[in-house]
């Protein structure tokens, strides 16, 4: 148990006042840190799927914490129970806090009922990243997909979340789409709630 048998001079981290979240660091500091994360993971895996999975796992942990932090700070501890509610929470609040702007778009998939897409012209993460040709379709947005997955899972909406590049006419770099595929139980619950 934490704290047993040791005299700690600082208060429990949960007792400290919560910051307002206005503090900033430079984008380059974050870009350097993220690049080290990707480089470290590259040494630990053999293929791209594993690398994406590891980035997703790292993002998952971030997402879980972001949900708790934002629920407490921004929404007064109110919990989202509807699908559209949680999606717009991610698309506006989470994106605004993490990346400084709301996501470019939120769309419902046309082919399947359970698919939704959040698109971004240029993910903040990918700004200083170039993917070598031999890595094919790898997208560092897997980290962001992990964040979204973390938020959804911990809010009670299990889903499979992936990041994809979608080439856009007239734009040199493809835009990134986060594809969210909800689990069966989420859709059933949503149907029951009416």
């Amino acid at each position: 148990m934490i704290g047993v048998g040791k005299i700690k001079q600082y208060t429990n981290v949960l007792d400290r006042p919560l910051s307002k979240g206005k503090q900033e660091v430079s984008l380059s500091a974050f870009a350097f840190l993220f690049s080290e994360l990707v480089q470290y993971n590259q040494t630990q895996v053999d293929n791209i799927a594993e690398l994406e999975r590891r980035l997703e796992d790292a993002g998952y942990a971030v997402g879980a914490r972001v949900l708790e932090l934002l629920c407490h700070r921004e929404k007064g501890n109110r919990r989202e129970t509807r699908l559209l509610g949680i999606l717009s929470f991610i698309h506006s609040t989470v994106w605004k806090v993490l990346f400084g702007k709301v996501a470019d778009s939120l769309e419902k998939g046309t082919e399947h009922e359970d698919e939704y897409m959040i698109s971004e012209k240029e993910l903040l993460l990918n700004r200083f990243i170039s993917i070598p040709k031999d890595m094919g379709a790898f997208n560092c947005g897997a980290f962001v997909a992990g964040i979204v997955k973390g938020v959804l899972d911990n809010a009670g909406f299990p889903a499979v979340v992936t990041a994809h590049f979608v080439p856009v006419d007239g734009q040199q770099r493809p835009r990134t789409t986060i594809l969210i595929k909800f689990a069966e139980e989420v859709l059933q619950r949503e149907a029951r709630l009416g």
Partner: protein
């Protein structure tokens, strides 16, 4: 053309793109967590964090010199002041202070009261040997090595272990003269 005057840390920080510190904090936490899961030994994690910091430092110093326009530092004292006031401010948004100079002027302490890396962090009992912010010591070491100073950077005080500030000791080991990889007359 006369070189531009060196800008203050605040001015540079205001002019660079910035991101929310919480994203930075949480990403760093994810990195440390991944390292702990993979390496399991606290000493190994410390070393890996230092290495990652070193890699960052060697590239960070280029950006630092480009954006800050500082003139060449005449002595180590100036270097330490510049790191504390301009460097930390420019990247982390916080300033450090420099204290505890030894008599020869080769060792000093950088004191950080506010550290965005450790928001929301508590060290569990199983990881008491972990230097959570070890990436910072690597960054300072790497950056200084790229400007021909070989240093040793260690943590003296750590807020996560109960102290009231973060204290980083920077010791100048030696100045390495620049070596050219080719001969002039070839």
């Amino acid at each position: 053309m006369a070189p531009a005057a060196p800008k203050s840390g605040d001015a540079i920080f205001a002019s660079v793109d910035r991101v929310n510190a919480e994203l930075f904090t949480l990403t760093y936490g994810a990195i440390v967590r991944q390292l702990l899961t993979d390496l399991e030994e606290v000493e190994e994690v410390n070393k890996q964090l230092d290495q990652m910091g070193y890699n960052i430092g060697v590239r960070l110093v280029d950006e630092f010199l480009a954006k800050s326009n500082v003139s060449r530092c005449v002595e180590f004292r100036e270097t330490a002041e510049v790191i504390a006031k301009v460097g930390f401010k420019m990247f982390l948004g916080v300033t450090a202070s420099v204290t505890n100079w030894d008599t020869e002027g080769t060792t000093c302490s950088l004191i950080l009261e506010d550290n965005p890396l450790v928001d929301f962090v508590e060290l569990p009992d199983t990881c008491q040997g972990l230097y959570y912010c070890n990436i910072l010591s690597g960054v300072v070491r790497g950056a200084l090595e790229m400007v021909s100073m070989k240093t040793e950077v260690t943590w003296l005080r750590d807020m996560l272990k109960g102290d009231d500030v973060f204290e980083l000791q920077v010791k100048l080991l030696k100045q390495i003269p620049e070596e050219y990889p080719y001969k002039d007359d070839e």
